[in-house]
């Protein structure tokens, strides 16, 4: 019992550290990917291949002068970035980072907690995340910040609905809200149980989900809340030093977490093809599965960057039209068709 408790504590710290590490190196990867796409070299001064660049950036942000506008509400001004960072880090607890390891007859599950409402927990945390932007933007007492905050809240609420509908089809197919059970449902092998990844059954859900994920993360082409050509810096115009750093950093954590969720829901999570036919030890398969999950996550992080440097930013009315008139009816149609098919095959 005690060993499980210690293991959970280690796992919590590990997930926290990995989230921060992935976010830090996403900033480096973003600049390298951008450089690659635009035929440049990118950061290469700090360390070999510029690998120490995230550390240098972090140090720079910490050393900058901290400015709090005298007309703003100081408590809320500080609360905004903290809240955004906390909600970004909270989602990692329900994601299954791997199957279970067995040492000395004790089973250690590579998931911090498997609550029976896993997906809804993720949605709850995501829907609270917008307060970080709204409170920060309002407390800045700046018109551009306020406009950015208002855009962010309207955008996130609009896209949450289509996102929710695209998940309901998965819940209907698997009959569970737990992310662990959804992963198990996609576990594949030759003998007896052939299970495809959910993206094979639900390609439209995946498409809608990933578009909504871009909008929820405020990533290009939907980064309207911080659109620099219209709003100076958007909701973080007045923020400086590490408070700005927290906003920028939390965005990359959100990207990492949403890549993890996309991989878990639609691309088999920690499962990889033929994993039960290799005849390997269960512990080794678990470790290979975790590596497979991280490969998928890194691919989706690259996908986020790929889109950012390929597609120009939407106009705000185009964004709203796409959300309400495009994705929402499509997701409802997908839901109805899925329901009809499940009813027909009596699955």
């Amino acid at each position: 019992m005690m060993s499980i408790f210690i293991f959970k504590v280690i796992l919590v710290v590990a997930v926290f550290a990995i989230s921060l590490f992935m976010a830090a190196y996403s900033t480096y990867a973003e600049r390298k990917v951008a450089a690659f796409m635009q035929d440049r070299i990118g950061p290469d001064r700090a360390g070999p291949f510029g690998l120490l660049q995230p550390l240098a950036d972090g140090l720079k942000l910490f050393m900058k002068e901290e400015i709090i506008p005298s007309v703003s509400n100081k408590f809320l001004f500080v609360l905004g970035p903290c809240l955004f960072m906390i909600t970004a880090l909270m989602t990692g607890v329900v994601i299954p980072w791997g199957d279970s390891l067995t040492f000395g007859g004790v089973e250690y599950k590579l998931q911090i907690t498997d609550i029976n409402i896993g997906i809804l927990y993720v949605f709850g945390v995501v829907s609270i995340g917008v307060y970080g932007i709204m409170i920060g933007g309002w407390a800045s007492n700046n018109k551009f910040s306020l406009l950015g905050a208002i855009r962010a809240s309207a955008q996130m609420i609009s896209y949450e609905i289509a996102m929710g509908f695209s998940i309901i089809t998965l819940v209907m197919m698997t009959g569970t809200l737990s992310l662990k059970e959804i992963s198990v449902f996609q576990s594949g092998g030759i003998d007896g149980h052939w299970n495809f990844w959910n993206v094979v059954y639900q390609p439209f859900s995946f498409l809608i989900f990933i578009i909504c994920a871009f909008a929820e993360c405020n990533r290009a082409p939907f980064d309207l809340p911080e659109c620099e050509t219209e709003l100076v810096g958007g909701y973080h115009t007045e923020f400086s030093s590490m408070k700005l750093g927290l906003y920028l950093f939390a965005e990359y954590i959100n990207m990492f977490i949403s890549s993890a969720i996309i991989s878990t829901l639609f691309f088999g999570g920690y499962n990889f093809p033929f994993m039960h036919d290799l005849g390997l030890d269960a512990n080794i398969i678990t470790i290979l599965g975790t590596i497979a999950l991280f490969t998928k996550i890194i691919f989706f992080i690259f996908f986020f960057m790929w889109i950012r440097w390929t597609i120009p930013r939407f106009r705000y009315d185009q964004l709203m039209n796409l959300g309400w008139k495009g994705l929402l009816p499509l997701s409802i149609l997908n839901l109805v068709i899925t329901g009809a098919v499940i009813l027909y095959f009596n699955k």
Partner: protein, 167 residues
């Protein structure tokens, strides 16, 4: 342990609810109201209703209060711009909220008998048992409330399209 937690959460809930009423700045009021909703969700978890708790957070704290905050931020209310209230409005508000208080107290009157009826409190909050109850025992009220929501939605769309009505 559970009882102490209940008292702590209740204290927090009442305190934040009072702060909603007494804070001068409307944005602060909304933020205290969000805390109140979180405390209510924590009460649901204490009652083993995790599904209700998370739906409560998603719908109220995550969607409705964001829209509240949205409107209040857009209006940019402050003390100078506060609309003047006549005595008649104050009088009507006092009477109507007093009537609401009487209804609330009246509805709490019969709770002594209700506690004996709940049978399996562990199962009650799970998605499966909740869905079964909603779609078997309370199907008609459930569908009627969905029609009500649909009517409200159509009404909101009609209000949002004034030039469409004129033609």
């Amino acid at each position: 342990m559970t009882l102490n937690l209940f008292y702590f959460l209740s204290f927090l809930g009442v305190l934040s609810a009072l702060l909603v009423v007494f804070s001068k700045n409307p944005v602060h009021s909304v933020l205290y109201l969000i805390i109140t909703f979180f405390v209510i969700a924590a009460h649901y978890v204490l009652l083993n209703a995790q599904f209700l708790a998370i739906v409560h957070i998603i719908v109220y704290a995550g969607a409705i209060m964001v829209l509240f905050l949205y409107v209040i931020m857009l209006l940019n209310l402050n003390q100078e711009a506060e609309p003047h209230k006549t005595n008649l409005i104050r009088f009507a508000a006092t009477i109507s909220s007093g009537l609401l208080l009487i209804i609330l107290v009246g509805s709490l009157k019969g709770t002594d008998q209700m506690i004996a009826q709940t049978s399996s409190p562990v199962e009650v909050g799970l998605v499966k048992s909740l869905g079964r109850v909603l779609f078997k025992e309370f199907l008609l009220p459930f569908e009627i409330s969905s029609v009500l929501l649909l009517a409200a939605m159509v009404g909101a769309v009609m209000l949002g399209k004034p030039d469409h009505i004129k033609k």
